[in-house]
Every structure is written in structure tokens, then in C-alpha cells.
Amino acid sequence: MKDPFIDRPPWSAPHNFSLYKRVIFCLLLCWIPVVSAQVSFLEDWRFTGFGTLGYAQSDKYSDLVLKRNIFQRSQTIEDNAWLVDSRLGLQASKELRVHWDFVGQIVMQEKVDNTPENSIEMAFVRYQLNDAWSFRLGRLVNDTFLLSDHRNVGYSYHWVRPPSEFYGWIPFAHYDGFKASFEVGDFDHFFRLEAFVGKGAAKVNIGYGDGGTSFNHVKANPMLGTSVTWEKDDLTLRGNYARLHVADEIAAAEELNEFVSSPAIQSAWPQAQQIAQDYGLKDSNFTYQSLGFRWLPGPWVVQGEVSDITSTSFGTYGGQRAYLHLGHRFGQLLPHITYSRSWDGRDYPYDPAPPTPNTLPAGTIEGLEVLLVNNRLSGVVRQYTVSIGLRWDFSSQRALKLQCDRINLHQDSLGIYPTTETELANRQESTRSWCSTTIDWIF
């Protein structure tokens, strides 16, 4: 039976990205001086940008899917080594008139939905009422967690990629809407309160398949939230609350609902339709709550976050996440270590499926149960990761980073690192490791 949620085509058919890779590398290496150059007729505009050239390697697991987040396609590390972390961002800003400015940003990177429209991370007009109040309207970057609003800018943090337990599972990188900010600072404290509302759309890839119904188009309307940030000397604290309502059903869930609503399935397994509906995303709500801190005493770097994600849909992710990051700068070198963890305490709350009756082909109900359990487990993230890394600021506004990650996937959990295994249920605990390097720069 075809699995509408975790469609796994033969993984021996990798996509050919050679031309794409060449274009990306040309952009990364050749554009920098061009873009940095002053262009006289655009003098009132500020053109800046950032880039990352990355490479990842794992000798042990040739079938390992490695990705930064669920926006990226599920491709093996062998096929995707240069693209998983490489990206180029360009930003333009202009002071339109007194109190008004515009900021636009486009980021080219490997992801499921690579359309120009979806590559625009920011395009907003801001009205600065006074030193305290400002209002933004347009496309805004989603800042659910501490690094969310600059996670594409590798130069701005020490990791090759921020902890996937946190930053791998944010379904919406940006939204179209409105944000109000209130900032007040004296010379001892800085305080910022923000609130936003908008709508977002994203195409994500969960599971091993790379195409078809493995690509889920998710729309949220409304997305709303608030955050509060407090800074004093070397300490930053940030709390965030966000809520989003999924407006439409994803195609895979519609397929599943259609299948289980047939009279033959309903009579054989009455609970199946209820389970399928519980897995659906339409009209489900997600709530994100998080607390984070960054403490930079002298050469030390200490950073951590905790979050709780709840969802009214049973078929997707939820639970708690936390990480702690510690580093120390020695001149141009900054070694660091990070421990991150994700919990998901939800159990499978349904009765076992009955045996397939004679009226249906043998194995139909058993196959359907496996499909449902597999779908459930594809969203379960019970894992921890230990990362060690080194950042070398070898030149002004340029850094070379090395990082090795060792991840422990708990039983019945895959996170964003699926495998070729077709049966996810009763999957045993396992570990995986890989190393990555990037050159990050801003210009």
C-alpha cells in the first residue's frame, strides 16, 4: 500500500543538482565583490548581504538524510553535502522619508519550495513613530526562538547549524502581516515588547520521500504572538508566545481520509476514520512557548533555550525542547560545545486494529495501521545531540567553522533524519554522527 504521508521512492534515484550546484557556487564565490561595489545611481539604498559555503560529511552512514530543517528536501548526505548549509542572502534597505524605511531580503538556498516568492524572507515598510514605537507591515521574518530571525546568517552565530531539535521544526520562516514593537532603553537596561499577526504558507518535507505527497503544503491563518526581550550588560533574556491556526488540510491527510471513509474500511475498522481525522491538520492549533537567554561574560559564551510546543493535531510534532551552549573565545578562535534535547511524551492512544476481514484483501487493515503508526512516528522527536565545534574568525567579517554532531535517536523516533527503513514502529534506539564545515561571511 502506498503511504500517503511518508512516500518512499527508491532512494537509489538521487536528483541531479550539478547545474544547480554550479550556479550556487558561482553566486557564492563570484558575486561578492560585484555586490559589494558601490553603485552610484543606487546611492540612497543600502545593499548588504551574507553567505555560507558549507560541506558535510559522514563516512559511516551513506543513507543518512541530513538537513537543517523541514523546509529542505530529504536527501542523503552523499547527494546533498555541498547544498545542505550553503546559501546566499541579499538585503536592500532604504530610508523612504522621515520615520519611514523599507527592508527587503532574499535568500537563495536548498529547500522544497525554491520559488522566488518563497525566497523573499523580508519585504516590509516600517513606520518609526518615535524612539519607542515602531510598526512594520509586509513580509516579516518569524522570530519564534532566539535565533529564528537570523538563522540564515551563519556569521551571526557559532554553530554550523543551530540545534535541530529547536530550529529544525519551525514550519514557517516568514509570514505576511503586521508587527508592533515597543522599545525602551536607558543605559542600564534595554526592554523590547513585540506583538504580531499575519498569515504564512510553507512547503515542508517530512519523512524519507523526496517528492509527491512527502511535500506538504501547510498554510497558517492567523499566526499571532508576542515576545518580550530584556537586556542588561552581557545578559539577554527573551520570552516568546506564538499561536498558529492551520487553515487547510494537507494533501496527504486528504488522501488518507478519503481512503478510510470507504464503507469497507469503516465497517472493518470503525475507529480508523477517527484516527485519520485526529491526524489531520485542518483547523488544528499550534502553540509555541519559549524562554531563552544569552550571557556573554568576557570571553565566555553561554546560551540556552527551553520551549514547549502543543498541538491539537495528533499526527504532528509536539513536546519540549531544550539546549545549552557553552563557548570560550581565544583570540580569533572560539571552541564550543552544545547539548540539545527533545522530548515527546505523547503515546499512541488508540486500540490495536482488528484483523482484516475476509471482505477485504489480506493485510489491508494491518497495512493501514502501519501507515498510521508510521505517520505518527515521523513527527516524533525524542532525541539528544552533542555538538562540538570551532569557529575561526580568520579575516574581517569572515569565519571558518567546523562542527561535529553525534545524535542519539530514541526508540520510535526519527526527527528530521529519516532512514530507508520502511517500518518505523518498534524502531530501536540508534546513534548517528557527522561533521560539517562552513565559511560564513557578511558583506
Binding site: 564565490l29 561578492i32 565583490p33 543600502r46 548588504t48 551574507f50 559555503l53 560541506y55 560529511q57 563516512d59 553535502a81 542572502g89 538585503q91 534597505s93 527592508v103 531580503q105 523580508m122 516590509f124 524612539d131 512594520r136 516579516l140 521574518v141 522570530d143 530571525d149 537570523h150 540564515n152 546568517v153 556569521y155 551571526s156 552565530y157 532603553g185 536607558d186 543605559f187 542600564d188 534595554f190 537586556e231 556573554l296 568576557g298 573565545r329 583570540g331 580569533q332 574568525d393 580568520f394 579575516s395 574581517s396 567579517q397 569572515r398 569565519a399 571558518l400 564545515t437 565559511i439 561571511w441 557578511i442
Partner: protein
């Protein structure tokens, strides 16, 4: 794997060669003055106040008047010394800090000015301006309507 590592190292070499190992203007700096216009009515700022103004955390002088900070080009030795002495952080940390703010769309770093003469001209004409310069004679600065409100020395 070895072939890939060689490619990576070659790319790294090309990248570094293209961009230059560090950037020029490596003159020795012993003391840095933070300057404002005399019409700002300021006589002194402490280190924490200077830091808040140059890191974008405060947008007004302690007397409530709004302010605008000016900075030097990336790679300037004076800029590197100023931020390292002021904050105790590496200039890379400061650049990463501004990258966080700039590329999240929050705010932009201080306006960049290319040379000392331009800095002095801007501060002498603008009551809201704040900038920093390599040590100069305060009496000469006063004749241009400029006041030294803080002096930084190597940590």
C-alpha cells in the same frame, strides 16, 4: 572524501586570497576620544553610556536629546580598537552582533564615514552626532565646536 577535502581547501585558499588576509590601515592607536557637538550640552559620558549608544541600545543622550552615532569602515584599525576597548569583545563578536540586528531587519549599524576630516565636519555641524577619533588636542577640537566626552585607552 580526500578529494572533497582538497576541493574545500582550494576554495578556502581562493576565498581568502580574494578577500585579503585582514584589511589595511594597521596604524598603532594608543588612545581614542569619543566626541560630540558642543550644542549637545554634554561634558562627559561614562563607558556604559558610550557602549549603549554605539551598540544601538540607547537612542538618546542622558539629557534626553536624540543622537546618531557614526562609525568607520569595516577593517579599520581604529574601529577594531574602539569596540574591543569599549566592550572587551572581539571585533568579530561585534560584527556578529550587528549581523544579528541588521539581517533580522531590526536596525542598522551606525552610518559609516570614510575619514577623520568627514567625522570632524559631521560632528561640528550636527548637535545629535556622536563619533570617535584617534587622540587629538582637545583645545583644537573645542575651536571646531567639538567636545571630548570620554577617552578610551587600551585595556
Amino acid at each position: 572524501m580526500m578529494a572533497n577535502i582538497k576541493i574545500l581547501l582550494a576554495l578556502l585558499f581562493i576565498f581568502v586570497a580574494m578577500q585579503g588576509w585582514g584589511q589595511g590601515n594597521r596604524e598603532e592607536v594608543t588612545s581614542i576620544q569619543v566626541i560630540v557637538n558642543v550644542q549637545s550640552e554634554l561634558t562627559e559620558l561614562n563607558r556604559k553610556q558610550v557602549m549603549s549608544l554605539f551598540l544601538g541600545r540607547a537612542r538618546s543622550f542622558p539629557n534626553g536629546k536624540s543622537t546618531k552615532a557614526f562609525d568607520y569602515q569595516i577593517g579599520s584599525q581604529l574601529r577594531e580598537n574602539f569596540f574591543e576597548w569599549l566592550t572587551g569583545k572581539s571585533i568579530s563578536d561585534i560584527d556578529a552582533y550587528w549581523a544579528r540586528l541588521r539581517y533580522s531587519g531590526r536596525t542598522s549599524p551606525p552610518r559609516v564615514v570614510s575619514d577623520l576630516d568627514t567625522i570632524l565636519y559631521i560632528v561640528s555641524k550636527n548637535p545629535n552626532a556622536i563619533a570617535y577619533i584617534r587622540h587629538q588636542n582637545p583645545a583644537q577640537l573645542a575651536r571646531q565646536g567639538i567636545v571630548v566626552v570620554h577617552t578610551l585607552k587600551e585595556l
